[in-house]
């Protein structure tokens, strides 16, 4: 999404009929016409939304040079999902008091090593933490 070059506290004119849309070349101005109300600078707003959207992988890149990284991203995302699910299950059991002290130590060691191994794999494939996620549309993010 392009940034919006509009002033702070922008307020548009009453839009009781279709907004005038300028020429194809001036899409930024066109967006400005669509702002009914904004608290803060819409340009910053747009930039933040863009960061939020681009942080999530939309699809696997089919470029042959990137396909390995894309597949690694998908596989590691699924492994991370399983790791987090298992960890949450363990935390729930601990909260219920159904896990012995020995088991807590052993489970903690296991999950700690898994997390470290995931960090190593992310470094190997050049992935950041936020990249290990999938946008499930109306359901939100996977992780």
């Amino acid at each position: 999404m392009p940034a919006l070059p509009v002033p702070h506290q922008a307020t548009a004119q009453p839009a009781t009929s279709p907004s005038p849309i300028p020429s194809e070349g001036d899409t930024l101005l066109a967006l400005q016409h669509k702002v009914l109300h904004s608290t803060g600078d819409p340009a910053e707003f747009a930039a933040e939304l863009e960061r939020a959207c681009t942080a999530l992988p939309q699809r696997i890149d089919a470029d042959p040079e990137e396909v390995e990284r894309g597949l690694a991203k998908l596989v590691l995302t699924l492994i991370e999902l399983l790791r987090q699910l298992m960890e949450r299950q363990a935390l729930r059991r601990i909260e219920r008091g159904t896990v012995s002290d020995e088991e807590i130590e052993r489970l903690g060691e296991t999950f700690m090593r898994l997390e470290r191994r995931m960090e190593e794999l992310k470094v190997i494939f050049g992935l950041e933490g936020e990249e290990l996620n999938l946008n499930l549309g109306p359901l939100g993010n996977l992780l």
Partner: protein, 227 residues
């Protein structure tokens, strides 16, 4: 190929001239009580570039003046007019019902960003951490996440309740991303645009830590399908 922009009620008078993608003239074909707005298209499917998206939007918005419009999402192609008329015939009653639902109404979009001043703790295990300490830390992080989620649901729910009062229909998401508290679209009567804007302004004043962006009026893209 035919590039499709919108479905409207059968027009009772010729539509004003309108230019579509690639400079092609916009045309209208009717079947029963409904009509499709399209232009001819050659070559590969149009790419979702800003200029193309705005051209599509402009064609649809010019139809909005005083009539119900079911906008078609960007990129819909049909092979020829026979296929177009078949589509209108097959879905005629659904289109009629959809047009009645959006008649006199427009879509407005609201996004609320909340402050990232208190980001969720994301820590890494210390080298000397034992298993018990690791799980205790993870539990504290999980509880912080849960508390933040509860707060988000409560605040987003309050925003949505106020905004939804003027709406005939809505679609909304709470926390689609960590920094986005609410992402919503509302179908409101055209005459309610100014009151809706005032409501957003009041919510912004009452929630100075949130940043609200309200855009519109848009064609009812989120409300084309019925219940």
């Amino acid at each position: 190929m035919l590039y499709l922009y919108a479905i409207i009620n059968r027009p009772t008078a010729p539509l004003p001239p309108n230019t579509g993608l690639g400079g092609q003239p916009v045309q209208c074909s009717a079947w029963g009580e409904v009509a499709a707005i399209y232009s001819h298209h050659e070559g590969p499917a149009p790419r979702p570039e800003a200029a193309h998206l705005w051209r599509h939007e402009e064609v649809v918005e010019r139809l909005l003046d005083g009539r119900g419009v079911l906008p078609v999402r960007f990129g819909a192609l049909l092979p020829d007019e026979a296929a177009l008329l078949a589509l209108l015939g097959e879905r005629h009653d659904r289109f009629v019902a959809g047009l009645a639902r959006v008649a006199g109404r427009v879509e407005v979009s609201v996004r609320a960003l909340w402050s990232a001043e208190a980001p969720l703790p994301v820590s890494r295990p210390a080298e000397a951490e034992n298993g018990r300490a690791y799980l205790a830390r993870r539990m504290a992080e999980a509880q912080a996440r849960e508390a933040r989620l509860r707060e988000a649901r409560q605040r987003a729910g309050a925003l949505h309740a106020a905004l939804n009062e003027l709406a005939a229909a809505h679609t909304h998401q709470v926390l689609p991303h960590e920094c986005i508290l609410l992402s919503a679209a509302y179908l409101i009567p055209r005459e309610a645009i100014d009151p809706f804007r005032a409501t957003v302004g009041a919510l912004g004043a009452a929630n100075p830590d949130l940043r609200l962006l309200c855009t519109g009026p848009w064609p009812a893209y989120h409300f084309v399908e019925g219940e």
